[in-house]
């Protein structure tokens, strides 16, 4: 039994059958990649996992609880964090403040009106946030405006914001999209590092085969809305069906 169980999920957009009988089981403490050509339904699947889309049929269970029909903030509270294709950060705030917000959210759980304390006096949380920034090598930029960061830094900041909450499941939507090779490698190292240091499950949706084969322990190939194969990276590489559907086309 995996930590995330997707059963018989179907989703249609008008005439388009975006997800067809998707069954997926993600084991705890693994890095699981979902790959597939454009239009295979990867992003739709991800949006179903975070509750942004409700499938027409089927179920999505996280640790024995259904995620369907829950709001994004409730899904986060269950222990699922998400990194977006275009980093979603608080552009008007400083880097440190960006990381502090998830710290407050995690500690308080829900709405709390701390109107008479100062942010400065929350030494414990600031310490936590600063350590999270050290983990992604951004401690020296903690007083920068988040909007002024480079794309790679924004991505790392977003990861720090997710990781500081110690999620059980981290969903990454093309974490290296639009990055130069050097930055991509740094991101791979960062993710590998995180995985080594703590128990965490990651689901990565990725186009870049280099990233996928460097990180993933399991790979699911999605084609035209349904899973084609699920296997280890070694087996996927030589799989004839995958060559045909994806790698053959890409290379």
């Amino acid at each position: 039994m995996g930590i995330l169980e997707v059963k018989d999920v179907n989703k249609r957009f008008g005439g388009l059958h975006a997800l067809k009988d998707v069954n997926l089981s993600i084991k705890e403490d693994t890095i699981h990649a979902i790959i597939g050509p454009n239009g295979a339904g990867k992003s739709t699947l991800l949006n179903v996992l975070v509750g942004k889309l409700v499938p027409d049929t089927g179920s999505v269970m996280f640790d024995g609880q259904s995620v369907l029909g829950r709001k994004p903030h409730e899904i986060n509270q269950m222990g699922i964090s998400r990194v977006f294709q275009t980093p979603e950060i608080f552009g008007d705030l400083t880097v440190l403040e960006n990381v502090l917000i998830p710290c407050f959210a995690k500690r308080d759980g829900a709405f709390r009106m701390h109107a008479f304390e100062t942010v400065e006096s929350e030494a414990e949380l600031i310490d936590l946030a600063e350590r999270a920034l050290v983990d992604v090598n951004m401690a020296d930029k903690r007083h920068h405006h988040a909007a002024s960061l480079s794309r790679g830094d924004k991505r790392r900041l977003e990861m720090a914001m997710c990781l500081v909450q110690r999620p059980r499941l981290l969903l990454l939507d093309e974490p290296t999209a639009g990055m130069a090779r050097a930055n991509t490698n740094r991101t791979i190292d960062l993710l590998r590092d995180i995985k080594e240091r703590r128990e965490i499950t990651m689901v990565i949706i990725e186009h870049d085969m280099h990233v996928v084969f460097s990180l993933a322990q399991r790979i699911t190939v999605l084609a035209q809305g349904s899973p084609l194969v699920e296997d280890t990276p070694e087996n996927i590489k030589g799989h004839p069906k995958v060559q045909e559907a994806y790698l053959g086309e890409a290379h």
Binding site: K71, E97, I101, F104, A105, R112, A115, E117, T118, V119
Partner: protein
């Protein structure tokens, strides 16, 4: 001090000093001089600047921090005024019970309007608040006449019960005997300074209001409000629902507006439905943007600026202008006076409109950004020999 760091404490002390010294600051020209008409140190104007400063500070907690633009805050202003006048009618002329009631009723009112309006964001939120405020205005103007006295406006009559009224108590608004419209005049050389009890009462409340807003700006709650403005998607995926935060900010700013409305009635014991008109809602938006939305001092500055224009510019009529331009030959003078009189006197709003346009186009951060730029310019000039100064200034307060 008071839960503030050193920099903010200094900032607060400066604000307190400026507020308490306003009767001097706004009276820079000696009586009888040609420039005396630009003096603004008289009670009515100073009270209004402080009151609308409170209104704008509260509005800024909602608009400046969360980015939700309410176009209906005048409704709370009106509710505050009515509450205070009702307390005069039922109890006595002591302003305190009325002001407490004003904050409570406007808070409840804001809770109801905010709960419904905050289901939408952006322009839909603005339109909803505008609709609710106009509904409130129409209710006050006609339907609820028994409570609001309709178009005449609510006022105290001798037939009112005034249960707490005691023998010899003042029959104008007062705070435990301190009569609001009493003033003390100080003659100093050619200058006349007026110290008005009503002004100092509103000034003390304005300082408290400012202090509270400063605390909110620096608090984790304020941080969350800024996060709402910056990126709601990320806030949601961080495990927080934005709605309670925006609703809390809406209620707080509604209470500020109610307090401001109450103070208007504490200075002048009247309450009319026109206080709930959309023009009043628009005025506070303009004050906040003109001064600098999201900054601490900006809204107060904007409020002062607009009230000054409204009172001082509107006094400059054609006769005054004739006097100024008497050195010009007759036909030219008439032309110049005609042009200037479009922008002064009753045309003061045209000057305000032009200023607002210029500020929005060239200084999107409001007057505070203007001040910031001047400060940076001076600093850069000072540092020029070394040329190693950092170009980025600290953000405006």
């Amino acid at each position: 001090m008071l839960g503030l760091n050193k920099r903010d404490t200094r900032f607060l002390l400066i604000v307190i000093a400026l507020t308490l010294l306003t009767p001097f600051i706004l009276q820079p020209f000696p009586e009888g001089s040609a420039l005396a008409q630009f003096n603004a140190g008289y009670p009515d104007l100073m009270q209004r600047i402080a009151i609308f400063g409170i209104f704008a500070i509260g509005f800024n907690i909602l608009f400046g921090l969360t980015g939700y633009l309410s176009f209906g805050h005048a409704a709370f202003l009106g509710v505050g005024s009515y509450s205070v006048v009702w307390m005069y009618k039922l109890l006595d002329y002591n302003v305190l019970p009325g002001l407490v009631l004003a904050i409570i009723t406007s808070g409840l009112f804001a809770l109801a309007i905010g709960y419904l309006s905050l289901r939408r964001s952006g322009i839909y939120f603005s339109i909803l608040t505008l609709a609710f405020a106009q509904m409130s205005f129409n209710l006050a103007y006609s339907v609820l006449t028994p409570i609001t006295n309709g178009e005449t406006g609510l006022q105290v009559y001798t037939s009112d019960p005034q249960y707490l009224m005691s023998e010899g108590e003042p029959i104008t608004p007062h705070l435990f005997g301190l009569v609001m419209n009493e003033s003390y005049k100080l003659n100093l050389g050619g200058w006349v300074f007026t110290f008005n009890i009503g002004y100092y009462f509103t000034a003390v409340i304005a300082i408290l209001a400012f202090y509270l807003s400063l605390r909110i700006f620096r608090s984790p709650f304020g941080l969350m409000l800024r996060a709402v403005k910056s990126n709601q998607t990320r806030l949601n995926y961080t495990g927080l629902n934005a709605r309670p935060y925006t609703l809390a900010a809406f209620v707080i700013s509604g209470m500020y507006a109610g307090l401001a409305g109450g103070l208007l009635a504490a200075m002048d014991p009247l309450a009319g439905a026109e206080r709930m008109q959309w023009t009043e809602s628009g005025a506070v938006v303009i004050m906040t943007i003109l001064g600098g939305a999201g900054t601490l001092m900006g809204p107060v500055l904007g409020a002062g600026f607009i009230k000054y224009l409204e009172k001082i510019f509107s006094k400059i009529n054609e006769n005054v202008l004739e006097g100024w331009f008497s050195f010009l030959p007759e036909p030219l003078r008439e032309v110049v006076v005609w042009i200037f009189s479009r922008f002064t006197g009753e045309g003061w709003a045209l000057t305000l409109g032009l200023m607002f346009m210029l500020v929005v186009i060239f200084l999107p951060g409001g007057l505070m950004e203007g001040g910031e730029r001047i400060r940076n310019l001076i600093r850069r000039k000072k540092n020029k020999p070394g040329d190693g100064a950092s170009p980025d200034g600290t953000p405006a307060e």
